[in-house]
């Protein structure tokens, strides 16, 4: 590929010849790649860390868990496994990772720990433990713990014989260190080994295990053993499954998707920029390219040449993007850590380099460059050799814009029909509308220019007309630039509308949740999996307080239905309605809660109903720790804690029977009549001292905090809109700069015939402003359509959200659009004004 070498050389020289333009265009790629890379080295790492903490990655040959992750009695499973051929040794384990209370930990910086209860004798037949100091556990040890040697790094005070308190379901317990294991492991989540009974007591699950570890006989076929084990145990169990799915996982994955989508959108805008630049390049080099055709370059060679050039920018942009992405990731972790923790406590944010992240970012960056370069490159290939001989002729655009205007309008009409249809179709409609706007933009430039120029004349009496006709000369380029801004501003409006709608939703739901006086929450209110709750002792002690009239609790289990994960919350139908309620969309408070006490019944959230297509009275076959059970749906409702998730409410009795769970993860209590808030709170807090994993809130305050945190999380939405607006600003800067480069000679003439620096500056500023107004006008239209579509889609998810016209968002979009335009215009305007007249006149 000797040609390719030459083309690369030429491309490099061309790019070098127009450094400023190259830099601006490359920035577009840099930005998208950086965003995608940053996202993909942080979030998947978080997910992986999270999954790892849940899955049973141990030294055993094979692990068996309940399909719901629930605990079970060893007698029911261990003997069956023991008898399977190829199994050499078996041991039962109770293990769990949980978040430590934010204050007062003896374990230094560890935010969560994994606690594993073992039977030392059988365990040592399954896997080998290396003890670096002290001794291993003895069967009759009580309160003894083996900690990882690495813990010295975070808690240097811990040595053999030292003791430390740790939370448990039944209050604080104290453990004595007897040995250090040589096992490596995460220091943010150290693994502690204890005797099984200790852990069973700590978790409030006496006589239960949740994992069976197996050592295989030498030469045994793992696959065959696995099959045999499953055959023996039935489908309630899984081998080496871990707990891949869990609520936080789903939530993080959703945000990963959304953020990646933003990255792709940023790259899409980048592609716009590159497309724009290369279209200009092809027009500029029409004669060169024609000459190359004349001296025998084939269409393919010309196309390749332009592609090589855009690919080169892609390569440079991608490399810089990776670097910037790394920096962005660090900044993101630093900036978002607070918001993140309040929702997904225990999910550690960190940078995890992976080949996948690099490859996907590189592939997307290069692909974008190639794709954006492709159409101009193809156009370049179509340049006739005769173009080398003709004087450059202005390209006629009228027909093209008219046809694209028609296409755009047809698309927009279609989109409006889709928007009105509502549901998921509406989301499609929003996207189609945006595409339609992009298509129609070149055709809209002329009429819009005419529409807005009187406005412009107010500020720029003399320069306005010139600026307008300058834009009209290249309606395609102006349209693409305005489209870029349009997308950015539309996203801004969409975000504003969504924040508005979600805020409304949160407020409505919060009213339901917070009927109680006191709210007792675990460290994370979204991810119960990582929470160590309390056993019945806490509820009993609270109820015993004279200040407390009613106590209700939430219990948690996870389940599945037809392959979809479901969160299951256990409530006491008798007490729960006294302290809280749900927002029902089917069924009613009285009937549904009453029905929950009778047989296997469930109330589902709107999201669960919509994703699983459930209705009142439906019977579902729910996966439980003890096999599938049939539940009947007696209501559809949700509250602020559950509206984001597919959740089932069942009675605590059913949860104990079917999921072996009796642990309370969240409690609510009402004070006895006449008890002051302060006195009641003080009383509750005396009890809670033993359960530092919980935080006690007076509901009134907590409600506000919760609403605030939720709203704070929405800041992310605005952040994303900002990230999309930045490339839009770059696009504007790019177009203005290219416009000026192209018109250098003209500007020289304007200056030569007596235009002042200030006038030239004002022409460019007016141009920028006009582009900004175009973008804002288009963006408002697109934004309204998009927000209507997306919020319409909320109802399809089971959330009844009214569409509130995002007035503030629209105003913000217009202001931001104009500001971005003015800001992007500063540099080009200045450089235009400062052009040396003589040089400008000689410019080619």
């Amino acid at each position: 590929m000797n040609n390719l070498g030459q083309m690369t050389l030429m491309a490099l020289r061309y790019l070098n010849g127009r450094r400023l333009r190259t830099a601006l265009t490359t920035l577009a790629i840099v930005f998208g790649v950086a965003l995608i890379f940053a996202i993909n080295i942080t979030l998947p790492g978080a997910i992986a860390a999270f999954t790892q903490s849940l899955s049973s990655l141990t030294g055993a040959d094979m692990t068996i868990t309940n399909v719901t992750g629930a605990s079970f009695a060893p007698e029911s499973a261990l003997p069956l496994v023991q008898d399977v051929e190829g199994v050499a040794a078996v041991t039962g384990v109770l293990r769990r990772s949980f978040t430590l209370p934010a204050i007062g930990s003896e374990l230094g910086s560890a935010t969560s720990i994994e606690m594993i209860g073992i039977e030392p004798e059988t365990m040592q037949q399954v896997r080998q433990f290396t003890i670096s100091d002290g001794r291993f556990l003895q069967p009759d040890d009580r309160g003894a713990v083996v900690v990882p040697a690495g813990i010295a790094e975070i808690a240097p005070q811990i040595e053999i014989g030292s003791t430390f308190p740790l939370i448990s379901a039944a209050g604080l317990r104290t453990y004595t260190v007897v040995g250090f294991s040589a096992e490596q492991g995460s220091l943010s989540q150290p693994t502690l080994y204890l005797n099984l009974p200790d852990v069973q007591a700590a978790f409030g699950q006496p006589g239960q295990i949740n994992t069976i570890e197996i050592a295989l006989s030498p030469g045994a076929d793992a696959a065959a053993v696995s099959e045999a084990v499953l055959a023996a145990l039935g489908d309630t169990y899984i081998v080496d499954g871990g707990a891949a799915g869990n609520e936080a996982f789903a939530a993080v994955q959703a945000s990963l998707l959304v953020l990646n989508l933003m990255g792709v959108l940023a790259l899409f805008l980048g592609a716009f920029l590159i497309f724009n630049t290369f279209r200009t390049i092809v027009i500029e080099r029409r004669r060169d390219l024609g000459m190359l055709r004349a001296i025998g370059a084939t269409r393919g060679q010309i196309t390749t040449m332009i592609l090589v050039e855009s690919l080169l920018q892609g390569v440079i942009g991608t490399l810089i993007g990776l670097l910037l992405g790394y920096l962005m990731a660090s900044a993101m972790i630093y900036g978002l850590a607070g918001v993140y923790r309040s929702y997904f406590s225990g999910v550690s944010l960190g940078i995890t380099m992976s080949a996948g992240a690099v490859i996907s970012a590189v592939a997307l960056g290069l692909l974008t460059a190639l794709l954006a370069g492709y159409f101009p490159a193809r156009a370049a290939g179509r340049i006739s050799p005769l173009d080398a001989l003709r004087p450059p002729t202005p390209v006629s655009v009228n027909r093209a814009t008219r046809s694209s205007l028609i296409v755009g309008i047809v698309l927009m009409v279609l989109a409006i029909v889709m928007l009105l249809a509502g549901g998921q179709t509406a989301v499609g409609g929003a996207v189609v509308f945006l595409v339609g706007m992009v298509a129609a933009a070149p055709g809209l430039i002329m009429p819009l220019a005419r529409l807005f120029s009187p406005l412009l004349t107010l500020w720029f009496a003399r320069e306005g007309d010139l600026a307008r006709s300058n834009l009209q000369r290249q309606p395609g380029r102006a349209a693409i630039t305005a489209s870029t801004l349009m997308i950015g501003l539309a996203v801004l409006i969409l975000m504003a509308a969504m924040v508005l709608a979600l805020g409304q939703l949160v407020n409505t739901l919060a009213d339901r949740n917070f009927a109680s006086d006191v709210f007792i929450t675990p460290p994370s209110i979204s991810v119960y999996n990582n929470v160590l709750g309390a056993d019945a002792s806490l509820e009993d002690r609270l109820r015993a307080l004279p200040e407390i009239e009613t106590v209700a609790s939430l219990r948690y289990a996870s389940s599945g239905l037809d392959g979809t994960r479901l969160e299951v919350l256990g409530i006491d139908p008798a007490t729960y309605p006294q302290v809280a309620s749900l927002e029902f969309s089917a069924g009613s408070e009285v009937e549904s809660f009453a029905a929950l006490g009778e047989g296997r019944t469930a109330i589902v959230t709107g999201l669960a109903a919509s994703t699983l297509n459930l209705e009142m009275g439906d019977e579902i076959s729910l996966q439980t720790a003890n096999g599938a059970q049939t539940y009947r749906i007696v209501g559809i409702g949700e509250d602020i804690l559950t509206f984001k998730l597919a959740t089932l409410f069942i009675s605590q009795a059913n949860m104990a029977a079917d999921f072996n769970k009796t642990e309370d993860v969240l409690l609510m209590a009402n004070f006895s009549p006449g008890v002051e808030d302060a006195a009641g709170l003080a009383a509750v807090q005396t009890v809670m001292a033993d359960y530092p994993q919980f935080t006690v809130h007076l509901t009134g305050q907590y409600r506000q905090t919760l609403v605030d945190t939720t709203s704070a999380a929405f800041v992310i939405f605005y952040g994303l809109a900002g990230l999309i607006l930045l490339p839009a600003a770059l696009g504007l800067l790019n177009t203005l700069t290219i416009n000026i480069l192209e018109r250098t000679r003209e500007i020289g003439v304007i200056r030569a015939v007596g235009g002042s620096q200030r006038q030239v500056q004002r022409i460019v500023t007016a141009e920028a402003l006009l582009l900004g107004i175009f973008g804002a006008a288009l963006g408002v239209l697109a934004g309204v359509a998009m927000s209507y579509g997306f919020i319409g889609a909320f109802s399809a998810l089971g959330w009844e959200v009214p569409y509130i016209f995002p007035v503030a968002g629209i105003i913000a979009a217009i202001v931001v659009g104009v500001l971005i335009a003015l800001f992007a215009g500063i540099l080009p305007a200045r450089s235009a004004a400062r052009l040396d007249i003589i040089r400008a006149l000689q410019y080619e």
């Binding site: 000797n2 040609n3 070498g5 030459q6 050389l9 030429m10 020289r13 061309y14 070098n16 010849g17 004669r287 060169d288 024609g290 000459m291 190359l292 055709r293 004349a294 001296i295 025998g296 370059a297 084939t298 269409r299 393919g300 060679q301 006739s384 050799p385 005769l386 080398a388 001989l389």
Partner: protein, 248 residues
């Protein structure tokens, strides 16, 4: 033996009802080693003829034979190959790639044809020598004078050792002195290397270098002038040099 021959070459623009003929039934042939100048007023179709001969454009009807091949029936890639290997173009506006040095520009058609870069550059150097520009090989076009740029463009046309060179107003953008240099270089390729050359010009001084001048008007040949060789040189000398004297 002809190198290039046109057969009822016709190029028509405009609608079927009101056709405008840029070229109408043009028949001409160019012999090996011949230097032909095509002249005619603007709009006569002389440039169109050249473009069609070079396969830059496609005729409405008729044929162009390059040796034994009809280039009017070729597809674009085959035509590109012919342009690369058998035809050298020289344009009015030089059309050098601004970011490449003179020698790289000259090597361009060879590189496009797949000649390895070192060989291509070597041959390009040789071509530059042929046009007396060896000492400017590593200059960018912007560092060359108009005449030098055009000579580099001629070297580019020569580099692939084409069967024929087609030049479109090669001196149209040059002052008379540079123009003389450029035509002299073209003439030399014919005299010294037996190059076949067709040149379109409106400049009599340029056309005077040719072996044959073809006059085109309204899309067809109106006259043709075979210029006799240098054997009459002494005659001129005699005529020009005899100065009649009178007294006082």
């Amino acid at each position: 033996m002809f190198i290039l021959k046109t057969e009822s070459l016709t190029k028509k623009y405009g609608s079927e009802s009101q056709p405008i003929y840029a070229l109408r039934d043009l028949n001409m042939s160019v012999e090996a080693g011949e230097f032909v100048a095509i002249m005619g007023p603007s709009g006569s179709g002389k440039s169109t003829a050249l473009y069609l001969m070079g396969g830059l454009d496609r005729p409405t009807s008729g044929h162009v034979w390059l040796r034994d091949k009809d280039i009017t029936t070729m597809n674009d890639d085959a035509l590109s190959k012919v342009r690369r290997e058998s035809i050298g173009f020289v344009f009015q506006f030089f059309n050098l790639i601004p970011v490449l040095t003179a020698v790289e520009n000259v090597a361009m058609p060879l590189i496009l044809d797949g000649v390895p870069r070192p060989q291509a550059l070597e041959r390009a150097e040789a071509a530059l020598k042929q046009v007396d520009l060896a000492n400017r090989a590593s200059h960018r076009p912007s560092e060359l004078s108009g005449g030098q740029q055009q000579r580099a463009a001629i070297a580019r046309a020569l580099a692939a050792k084409p069967a024929i060179i087609l030049a479109d107003e090669p001196t149209g953008n040059l002052d008379s002195r540079s123009s003389d240099e450029v035509v002299a270089v073209l003439r030399r390729t014919v005299d010294d290397f037996g190059q076949t050359l067709v040149l379109v010009t409106h400049d009599p001084r340029v056309a005077a270098h040719a072996d044959r001048i073809v006059f085109i008007k309204d899309g067809n040949i109106v006259d043709e002038n075979r210029l006799k060789g240098a054997d009459r040189a002494e005659q001129i000398r005699e005529k020009l040099g005899r100065v009649a004297m009178s007294e006082g």
